[in-house]
């Protein structure tokens, strides 16, 4: 049987990207169209149209979506009611007693569910899971009726200590299902059965309040696709970097909030494995922000503790991607100390940098790149009528005059300070995960990433940069190369010395069985199944956790002790033989791998190494005649000495002096950065 094409389509904040691969012929098609915010399906359809996809010949569509993320950030949520333990309806609004920033006593917070839709019923478990107050079923029925009368569409049932004993939540859900008109019912213990009522409650509340939206969106998308002859299933990227059927994904909708960033990191991990670079620091610089992740041994890190904005924790296993602030639109200014600052303000997508010609009047990182010749002035927004002279004038007035620099010097200063700050932020992410950035290669993607990659690598002491063939559509590629994946976390809280090892082994066995069953239920062809285990551990009395990778589902006490000591030493350089260790939770990931995609089809190889033009670019105040190459023209094995620029449809790569770029057989560019 011949296999049909696979399509990956990712909806981002600005663009919807598509990659279509025909495994039989190796043919590939790409598309990039504007995202349609009100209904993302239109953007998806127009991307398919742009790629001239014949949906009848497509086997699989994998979709990365920001539907749920946007809904949460903008609070455009389904009307959702909460039923919780008597005395605790305000937990979702009280949070953990914080403020948005360390300094400045202002701040606002909008809870996911408004107070009038948060109701209480008599019931109570204690921390051991013993019933203190039985569930008052009459009160529950009355509360359900109140929420229905108030027009609630989705329901959250969230009781204290349900992770220790979910009996009341289960019974309450059973009763709710008798009267609730749909199946949008989320119980607190279902998504991640861990202690901490605020985090578990917010996760459940997010899940319920995006569930109807995601379900409706996907149903509409499936209908539209079916109307165009598509007979297969639509899979959705989850935040853990695995795909799930669109018919089931809404059940655990909260898991899709990191869908886009997770796809990008999955693509990076895949590309790195193929290119022989299993340890990567990924760096995705867009217009408003930069996302960073750390890939070790070819596998992206998964965390259970993502916070998507102030006081909005989503505690389900998701790829650990951190947002570090600066993007191409970050604004440069001179502060009252006469020092240059970059950000935190951003010109965003509107009005955007000056060079977009959409009304931006303040200097940004992108404008600085343009002024220095690093971005192609030919691409200046024509409609807005902004000229290079306009940009230069603004740099002269707002930065050059107060700093005593020429406009070009000011632009170089912007880039230098921005790079120093971004490198610092990337370093902090790396260190917080216990890794030295110098042990990694930098994987640069996103529209603005490759322009800064060489400088950042130098700043971080990273010797090598990998720029994939299509940096601007990395997320869509992630959809194509993704595996099926299911993650499980179980809180056990046992002192290692006295832990019942058989119980721990049973937890792993149960998790693995659940994962294998879930894979089987997907009804998608799997090449191989990989199962991995880890334990989250700490010294007794401590609050931070250290993840200890395990090689088997039946580790001995000594395996855990030794693994923990080694992981702790790696991370902190401290050994504490006198203090006992504790196993807090056990984790299991079950991954169904799919057919590998040949990356070399992403970009063709050219014939000869000829620059398309030569442009004057400033480096350290010195103008260099800098050759500009068109990426698609580069022949295999091409080696280019810096300074040089390599342009392509969706990004520009800057090869600084004292750097060498080489095109590898897969079409990646490998940049060697010399000190």
């Amino acid at each position: 049987m011949t296999k049909g094409s696979i399509i990956g389509v990712d909806v981002g904040g600005t663009f919807t990207d598509l990659v279509m691969v025909d495994p039989a012929t190796g043919a590939i098609r790409l598309a990039k169209v504007p995202t349609t915010l009100d209904n993302q399906a239109y953007g998806v359809l127009s991307a398919l149209e742009s790629a001239e996809a014949d949906l009848g010949a497509v086997d699989l569509i994998v979709h990365g979506t920001t539907t749920t993320t946007n809904a949460v950030l903008e609070r455009k949520l389904s009307r959702t009611g909460l039923i919780t333990t008597m005395g605790f309806r305000d937990v979702l609004e009280l949070g953990r007693r914080t403020r948005p920033q360390a300094y400045g006593m202002k701040g606002e917070f909008r809870p996911i569910i408004p107070r009038d839709l948060r109701l209480e019923v008599p019931e109570r478990m204690d921390a051991a899971g013993e019933i203190v107050t039985p569930l008052d079923e009459d009160a529950l029925r009355a509360a359900l009726q109140t929420l229905l009368d108030e027009g609630a569409e989705a329901l959250v049932i969230h009781f204290l200590h349900a992770y220790a004993n979910p009996a009341h939540e289960r019974r309450a859900a059973e009763i709710a299902r008798e009267v609730w008109p749909n199946d949008h019912i989320t119980c607190g213990h279902e998504l991640l059965s861990e202690t901490r009522e605020f985090e578990r409650g917010v996760t459940a509340a997010v899940n319920a309040s995006v569930q109807p939206l995601l379900e409706r969106y996907l149903a509409r998308l499936r209908d539209e696709l079916a109307g165009q002859g598509y007979a297969g299933d639509v899979l959705v990227m989850n935040g853990n970097g695995g795909m799930v059927s669109s018919k089931r994904v809404a059940r655990e909708a909260a898991k899709t909030v990191m869908s886009g960033p997770a796809s990008g990191v999955m693509a990076a991990a895949y590309t790195g494995r193929q290119a022989g670079e299993p340890n990567l620091l990924t760096y995705d610089m867009g217009g408003t922000s930069t996302d960073v992740a750390l890939i070790q041994g070819g596998a992206p890190p998964v965390s259970n503790e993502i916070e998507i904005e102030y006081a909005m924790p989503i505690h389900v296993p998701m790829v650990d991607v951190r947002t570090v602030g600066a993007g191409g639109g970050s604004i440069a200014s001179v502060n009252a100390a006469g020092l240059l600052e970059i950000g935190p303000e951003s010109a965003g997508a509107t009005p955007g940098p000056i060079c977009y010609g959409k009304g931006g009047t303040r200097p940004t990182i992108s404008d600085a790149n343009l002024l220095l010749g690093r971005l192609n002035p030919g691409r200046l927004a024509v409609e807005g009528g902004v000229s290079l002279e306009d940009v230069r004038g603004i740099f002269a007035d707002m930065l050059g005059a107060p700093l005593g620099l020429s406009p070009e010097e000011a632009a170089e200063a912007v880039i230098r300070v921005a790079n120093a700050k971004m490198a610092g932020a990337i370093r902090m992410v790396s260190l917080s995960l216990g890794a030295d950035p110098r042990d990694f290669a930098l994987f640069a993607f996103g529209g603005a990433g490759p322009l800064h990659a060489a400088a950042l690598a130098r700043e971080l002491g990273v010797p090598r940069v990998l720029v994939p063939a299509r940096p601007g559509i990395t997320n869509a590629l992630g959809c194509v190369v993704a595996d099926l994946r299911h993650d499980y976390v179980q809180t056990v809280n046992q002192v290692l010395q006295t832990a019942d090892m058989a119980t721990l082994h049973t937890v792993f066995a149960t998790q693995e069985a659940a994962g294998r069953a879930a894979l089987a239920a997907e009804n998608i062809e799997i090449l191989d199944t990989e199962v991995s285990f880890s334990a989250d551990m700490q010294f007794i009395g401590q609050s931070h956790l250290v993840r200890v990778p395990l090689t088997s589902a039946n580790p001995s006490r000594e395996d855990l002790q030794k693994g923990f000591e080694a992981a702790y030493w790696d991370r902190f350089g401290v050994e504490l033989a006198q203090i006992r260790a504790k196993v807090v939770s056990l984790n299991c990931s079950v991954i169904g791998t799919s057919d590998p995609v040949d990356l070399s089809v992403l970009i063709g190889a050219g014939e000869s190494l000829q620059p398309v033009e030569t442009r004057t670019v400033l480096f350290d105040g010195t103008p260099y005649d800098t050759p500009v190459y068109w990426r698609d023209d580069l022949p295999e094995g091409a080696t280019i000495e810096g300074p040089a620029l390599i342009e392509q449809m969706d990004t520009t790569l800057l090869i600084e002096p004292k750097c060498t770029a080489r095109r590898d057989p897969l079409g990646n560019l490998i940049l060697e950065v010399r000190p």
Partner: protein, 548 residues
Amino acid sequence: MSLDPITLSVIQAGLAQVCDEMDMSFSRAAFSPVIAEANDRSDGIYAAEDGALIAQGAGGLPVFVGTMQYSTRVLIERIKSGQTPAPKPGDIYIVNDPYLGGTHLMDVRFARPFYRNGEIFCWLSNTGHWPDTGGAVPGGFSASATAVEQEGLRLPPVRLFKEGVMDEEIYAIICSNIRVADQRIGDVKAQAAALKVGETRLNALLDRYGDDVVRAAIAELRARAATQMRRLIDEIPDGSYSSTAWIDSDGVVNEPLAIKLRIDKTPGHLRFDFAGSAPPCQGPMNSVLATTLSSVYLAMRHIFPEVPISAGAFEPLEVIRPTGTFLDAQYPRPVSGCAAEVSQRIAEAVFAALVEALPHRVTAAPAGTSGNFALGGHDPETGRDFVMYQLSGGGYGGNADHDGLANGCSTIGISKAPPVEIMEQNFPVLYHRYALREGSGGAGRHRGGLGLDYELELRRGTARASFVMDHGRFGPQGALGGSDGAVNEVEITRDGESYRPEHLSKEQDIPLAAGDRVRVKTPGGGGYGDPEERDPKLTAEDRRLGRQ
């Protein structure tokens, strides 16, 4: 040497990075949840000659904003005068003496000389809040101490590490005088390791830019930070601004303590005069000078968060030493309340004085108490003694932009409160409510944020409850016509009988038996602006949601 502004910016970022990496290393390796989870710690770089603050980590606890430069200066002076032995490379001094530039005894500071070419280039120092340093009550917050000796072990600067090796004899003395000593080794190692991280990173910075360039940059950054602060405070019209803030009592004598503040603004200069404030008190609500200064600095940083923390930023802020008041406590006055409570009331005085001059920057008064409720007892089920702390937030002040935040962290802290589920896992208590305190926000065009209302029950055994809170007598001040927020309330129900502490917000060792309950309602924030000007839609929404 003249430096271009770009090199300056880059070195400034580099120095900040060194401190941030020390902060991270300290928190992540620390044992004490107070440090690891609550970030009750801070790391910084201080000048070799006078201890002036060069850079401090952005994630440090706000109240430490100015204390370590003071303690480092005292250490340098003592070394010069021979009172303290001179250092060798690899030495680390430990000190927690409040009168030598500290806060309370639980804040333990480490200081490590940083050498370049055999000379001390600067000092690296950090502070961590230890869960216990001995004294009358576990945790150190005795509400009725009358001398510092009752508050715990006091350490003058001594070299705990000598040429990289810990002095086991000094450590043994410390361990014999503090509770849960077996876990402290984890904090000591983390605190020392953080300074080592700082040393490595600072060496890298100096190797890259050169010692002379960095030294010149430090001097230039200091001058520029002063300029930046001067420009910002010039948003305040010249003139005098006064305010008064009140502490309920000192915990021993039941009388309010006044903080009288007069701020004189002249071009580029603010002068803070606390003359007329209450004299030193018998109980632990005294503040040492370092903490008083630090409280002024942190209040100004809340108003101008864009200024990085450095000695230069403090230069235009002149604080007249409040000699003879409880804000300049001398040995042996007890001081355990200074960092957690008095500091917040000093900040409130600064806010109240400046809110009219800076109506868009300054908020009405926030709840301004750490809400410390300690419960120590014996759990018959586990057969072990326990000490539990419930720190709680309160409402923030209304402000020009919006209503105050509900249940915000103390003005001087940045830590998360522990979840009810974790408390119930670890201690024999059952919470009956953990809720917004309805009606607690001070009325105003933008009302104050709501406080917290919680109630818990002791399930087994016996225990003693202690409270070190504030704003029980007077609510957080409203501003520009807004009303005060609701006062802090503590209610204990023993054997069915209700009881309120005589000092309202402070009392020690109240005996509880199984079934007894404690209910605490924390203050709401002060209101901002005339309540008549409030948008009727907001009023209606508050009513609909049962907030007011």
